[in-house]
């Protein structure tokens, strides 16, 4: 039951985020076009990685193929990202998945694997 609620909460959060996106500013509008390529989980993972690696303001854009190294992260950042993913999605990620956190799409894949299990 708890996990069900969590999924709803996640969904609501993402919906709210999309609603809040500014559209007037041309520059931001362009970003929005790029962000729309991401699904809900991808968007959430992206925000979380941006926050942990302090990506914003560095002129770096997180893409599906981005690696942790591209974004200025290291093995300790990977641990922080893992922990934040576990908190955000209320999942437990086993040690053997750590390797996949090394790039953005790997992290998304891991989250989807475990979030799906809980649903």
């Amino acid at each position: 039951m708890m996990f069900f609620n969590k999924s709803i909460a996640l969904f609501c959060h993402v919906t709210r985020f999309n609603e809040c996106l500014p559209v007037k500013n041309e520059k931001v509008g362009k970003v929005r076009v790029m962000e729309e390529k991401f699904d809900e989980i991808e968007q959430k993972v992206k925000e979380l990685i941006e926050r942990i690696l302090k990506v914003k303001g560095k002129g770096t854009e997180i893409k599906r193929e981005s690696t942790l190294a591209d974004l200025g992260g290291d093995s300790l950042s990977a641990l922080s990202i893992l922990s934040a993913l576990e908190q955000e999605f209320n999942i437990s990620i086993p040690d053997e998945e750590i390797v996949d956190i090394g790039n953005f799409s790997g992290a998304v894949k891991v989250v989807k694997k475990y979030v799906k299990d809980y649903r």
Binding site: L76, S80, L82, Q87, N90
Partner: protein, 414 residues
């Protein structure tokens, strides 16, 4: 052969300023850095004052975006080291230097990160424990961050002897250079003591001043109306260097460390004992090969607890005899509060500045003479004085005593 060891760089982070210049101006003018605590809620705490640092921004020192991986004590250590290394103008080579090391003192290391992780675990659950907690909490993290940041790959360790940590660290770094194991050492102490559980525990020891209504007047070392110490946070870092290599590169030399004495009372966990303190001072004088008559200034441990100040006074009298009455003695803690593991380092820096500027900073808040403390404590106003040899006392809980002696270099030696 014994190498001579000199101080060629200094840096501080204190409640009275985040650089040597601000710190010195404040202590010469007898200012106090003690204030009401703002870092955490102290509603039901009996003590509401501390030497809190309120204007420290790590990002002001570094462009490193990983500063949140450092506990506050490591940030203090690194920021002070930054000032000391820049001040020394030592060559920081790309690829690192094995002939420069780090010995740092700290009494409680990453206590804040420890408390934060505990709070997260107990109130929110396992998932919320910060995975970087271990490297933040570990006591050696301050020394390791300094090594990593500057590429100092020589001997590196951390000394923890409570309130004597900073002085013991400097003493050990001095021995490493003296015995030829490194050309230069970054050394000193750092403590970020204002963490809720740790501060509550200090309150429970009932050794803190409770003058909550007049924070700046709270710390009264050697004054009869003293009512306890004031906890403070900060860091002091020095660059020690072999005299010959400092001369070779025309470094600015603040003074020479000529003596170090270290003992343990083997007596009581929190009460000092005169014998251990006397022996530490005597050992330092012996190591320095100077006589009692040569000492021109003593920077006291001077915490403002009833017992520390009277036992320290007795120890000085026992070592120096009649000469004790004519040596100016002052307590830097009267102005900063007690920075615990950083205090020994900040106080040796005070000695070095005193040698160079020929001014002795005062013991402020000295209001009532105490028959048990009847020496010259340079009360309330700084004093001009030519100082050739100064001695700094540090006495820690657990009975740890560390004494350092610093001497001015004569012009013909430079």
């Amino acid at each position: 052969m014994r190498k001579r060891v000199v101080v060629t760089g200094m840096g501080v982070i204190t409640p009275l300023g985040n650089c040597i210049k601000d710190f010195w101006n404040a202590i010469v003018n007898g200012q106090s850095g003690v204030k009401n605590i703002t870092r955490f809620s102290i509603e039901d705490f009996p003590v509401k004052i501390a030497g809190e640092i309120t204007n420290f921004r790590p990002e002001g020192f570094f462009t490193d975006d990983k500063m949140d991986r450092l506990d506050r004590f490591s940030q203090f250590a690194l920021a002070s080291a930054y000032e000391a290394v820049n001040d020394s103008k030592i060559d920081v080579k790309k690829g690192g230097r094995y002939d420069i090391g780090v010995v740092l003192g700290t009494s409680v290391g990453g206590i804040y990160s420890h408390e934060k992780a505990a709070e997260d675990l107990f109130t929110r659950g396992f998932k919320f424990v910060d995975p970087i907690s271990i490297p933040k909490v570990m006591y050696n993290s301050g020394a390791c961050h300094i090594a990593r940041h500057f590429g100092f790959m020589g001997p590196n360790y951390t000394v923890t002897t409570a309130c004597a940590s900073g002085a013991n660290a400097i003493g050990e770094a001095y021995k490493i250079i003296r015995d030829g194991y490194a050309k230069a050492m970054v050394t000193g102490g750092a403590d970020a003591t204002l963490s809720p559980v740790f501060f509550a525990a200090w309150c429970k020891l009932r050794v803190l001043s409770r003058q909550n209504d007049s924070p700046q007047k709270a710390c009264k070392p050697f004054s009869k109306n003293r009512d306890g110490l004031v906890v403070a946070e900060g860091a002091g870092v020095l660059m020690l260097e072999e005299l010959e290599s400092a001369k070779e590169r025309n470094a600015c030399i603040y003074g020479e460390i000529i003596g170090y004495g270290s003992t343990n009372d083997a007596y009581h966990l929190t009460f000092p004992h005169i014998d251990g303190e006397v022996k530490a001072i005597e050992n330092a004088l012996k190591d320095a090969q100077v006589s009692k008559e040569d000492v021109d200034y003593i920077n006291a441990h001077g915490t403002a607890t009833a017992i520390n100040d009277s036992v320290e006074t007795d120890a000085i009298k026992k070592v120096f005899g009649d000469k004790a009455y004519s040596i100016p003695i002052s307590s830097t803690k009267s102005m900063l509060g007690h920075t615990l593991g950083a205090s020994g380092a900040i106080e040796l820096i005070t000695c070095a500045l005193s040698l160079n500027k020929s001014i002795i900073p005062p013991t402020i808040n000295y209001e009532e003479p105490d028959p048990k403390c009847d020496l010259d404590y340079v009360p309330n106003k700084a004093r001009k004085a030519d100082i050739n040899v100064s001695l700094s006392n540090s006495f820690g809980f657990g009975g740890n005593n560390a004494v350092l002696i610093l001497k001015k270099l004569n012009n013909d030696e430079i």
